[in-house]
């Protein structure tokens, strides 16, 4: 965990509502599944955003313009400095990936899976990615996953592109382990539809993002955990699904 001042190198729209922001400065390599927490003018609380890509000196996030904070972020221009907490959360455990890892992402749950895919590809693993969207105009990151050499299947709920339906309608027959991130209904469906063990990344409204306020606590089979600190990634076996 570090508090750093980063500078926006680029901030551009990928779709109508989804933006990609690249920040440079004193930031070290982050682990797939970790997040950063950004301080914004006129917002009291920071905005926790998952890491899309990371290398020493540079971090990229992909975020959806949905509320006051992300609206403000979408207007920020290159050269703007931001106070950012980096290296937050546990991230995905890559040691369990096996020979044929499957990545399942829905909407703005997809970004943390990109750095994961990149890292798994660098380890020489074949990676399958199933990416779910509502409709054709909301698709992003498909080509980025393809350029890593991943086998990519896109689904849209309305059938306007890729396979019609949800990610759970497009899961491959064979995979060794899965990693997922997306909206809660999707995560619950993935939990039921998957045959192997896997890891889920959760989101929750956070106060601090670094374990101090207990705002984002959840119950697991291993006791109470903080999504920001012991999470956001939890193993399938530990999760208690609430009705």
């Amino acid at each position: 965990m570090n508090e750093v001042i980063l500078t926006i190198q680029d901030n551009s729209a990928l779709t109508n509502q989804v933006y990609r922001m690249t920040l440079t400065g004193p930031v070290s390599q982050m682990h797939p599944g970790q997040f950063i927490n950004i301080r914004l003018q006129d917002c009291f609380l920071r905005r926790p955003i998952s890491v899309y890509d990371s290398e020493p000196g540079k971090v990229t996030i992909v975020y959806k313009r949905i509320g006051k904070g992300t609206e403000q972020m979408s207007h920020l221009t290159a050269g703007t400095s931001l106070n950012v907490l980096t290296g937050l959360g546990n991230g995905y455990d890559l040691s369990k990936a096996g020979d044929l890892p499957l990545l399942i992402g829905g909407g703005v749950g997809i970004p943390p899976l990109f750095l994961l895919a990149k890292t798994l590809r660098n380890m020489g693993k074949p990676v399958t990615a199933v990416l779910g969207f509502n409709t054709r105009s909301e698709i992003f990151a498909e080509n980025a996953f393809k350029s890593l050499g991943c086998h990519v299947t896109v689904t849209t709920a309305d059938g306007s592109a890729g396979k019609r339906g949800f990610v759970t309608d497009a899961l491959p027959d064979a995979y060794s382990y899965f990693y997922t991130c997306g909206p809660m209904p999707m995560l619950k469906a993935v939990n039921t539809a998957t045959a192997t063990s896997g890891q889920f990344s959760f989101e929750e409204r956070m106060g601090c993002g670094f374990g101090a306020c207990m705002g984002c606590s959840c119950r697991t089979k291993d006791g109470t955990k903080r999504i920001c600190r012991e999470g956001p990634v939890f193993e399938k076996e530990a999760i208690l699904w609430e009705e």
Binding site: F44, R205, A212, C213, M214, G215
Partner: protein, 302 residues
């Protein structure tokens, strides 16, 4: 003794800055950000007789210049606090800590305070009779002078450590509660706990917080807190710890001019993990700017 030294119930603090309960965990999370021994002390996470998970999420909402929380006293229970949290804390913090205690009955308060009274690491007991986020307890004790007095008197019987009663602003006359605590033997009062508030999500048309209501904190509440600290410090003889929206060294001085002997800092820690370090390090310069030689001379000058 330094120019920032203050006295809190007979014990010296190197400076008046005390991270507030519920925003600082059991300290060791913040020890990863800075050496927490620079603090006056800190008030640890509100502790109850039994472990508590508490309210469903979302528990956090935002508001202009502040936030609303409805955590509801999540904590591992006093037994685990003593056997696990305090030993972990002792590795990174070498001063006396303020133990924050909450309960749902007189027995709860008494039991938890009795347990913590035996701990050398605990310098003060801060008794929370003002949590707005729990039902059938918490604030119920802090909104009635007689109930506040009964908790104070019961706790005083089982401890020799200074007892600080933490007061709710969600009352008509906070001075009446403060005086009741003083008359029942409280060694100090701390105020304010959070103000009750809520937000509604325009898209879902539902309250943002699963608990519907929560407690507002942050700079938004500073003027309200300052006013109440001023009123209470003019109504009682015992020390007053001022809190509510403090986020700068200047705020600390303002709160002390209103009558606070020390200050607690809450929400600021959550948006800036280094907030208390910055406030402490900034104090000498701000004191110089306003011609203040020692903090001791400030108390209640206004």
């Amino acid at each position: 003794m330094g120019r920032m030294t203050v006295n809190l119930c007979g014990q010296h603090l190197d400076n008046p800055v005390i991270p507030a309960s519920g925003t600082f965990g059991f300290g060791y999370e913040f020890a990863e950000w800075y050496d927490i021994n620079i603090l006056g002390t800190f008030s640890f996470k509100g502790t109850t007789r039994e472990p508590r998970f508490c309210n469903p999420t979302p528990r956090i909402a935002e508001c202009p210049a502040g936030m609303i929380n409805a955590v509801g006293l999540q904590n591992p229970g006093v037994k685990q606090v003593i056997t696990e949290e305090l030993p972990k804390l002792s590795r990174v913090f070498h001063k006396k800590v303020m133990a924050n205690v909450s309960g749902f009955s007189l027995d709860d308060y008494v039991y938890t305070c009795e347990q913590l009274d035996r701990e050398d690491a605990v310098g003060w007991l801060e008794v929370n009779i003002s949590c707005p986020n729990v039902h059938g307890g918490g604030m119920a004790f802090g909104t009635d002078p007689e109930a506040a007095a009964s908790v104070t008197a019961a706790v005083k019987k089982v401890t020799r450590k200074p007892v600080i009663m933490k007061l709710s602003p969600n009352v008509t006359d906070i001075t009446a509660i403060a005086r009741a605590c003083e008359n029942a033997g409280a060694d100090a009062v701390s105020l304010i706990n959070t103000l009750q508030g809520m937000r509604i999500d325009l898209r879902t048309r539902r309250p943002v917080l699963a608990n519907i209501m929560g407690g507002v904190s942050g700079p938004a509440v500073f003027p309200v807190a300052l006013r109440m600290v001023w009123q209470v410090s003019h109504a009682v003889q015992i020390p007053v710890i001022g809190m509510g929206g403090i986020s700068t060294s200047e705020d600390v001085l303002e709160m002390m001019m209103a009558g606070a002997s020390a200050v607690e800092i809450g929400a600021a820690n959550l948006v800036d993990p280094m907030a208390c370090k910055r406030i402490i390090e900034g104090l000498p310069e701000v004191m110089d700017r306003y011609g203040i030689k020692t903090l001791d001379e400030l108390k209640g000058v206004s």
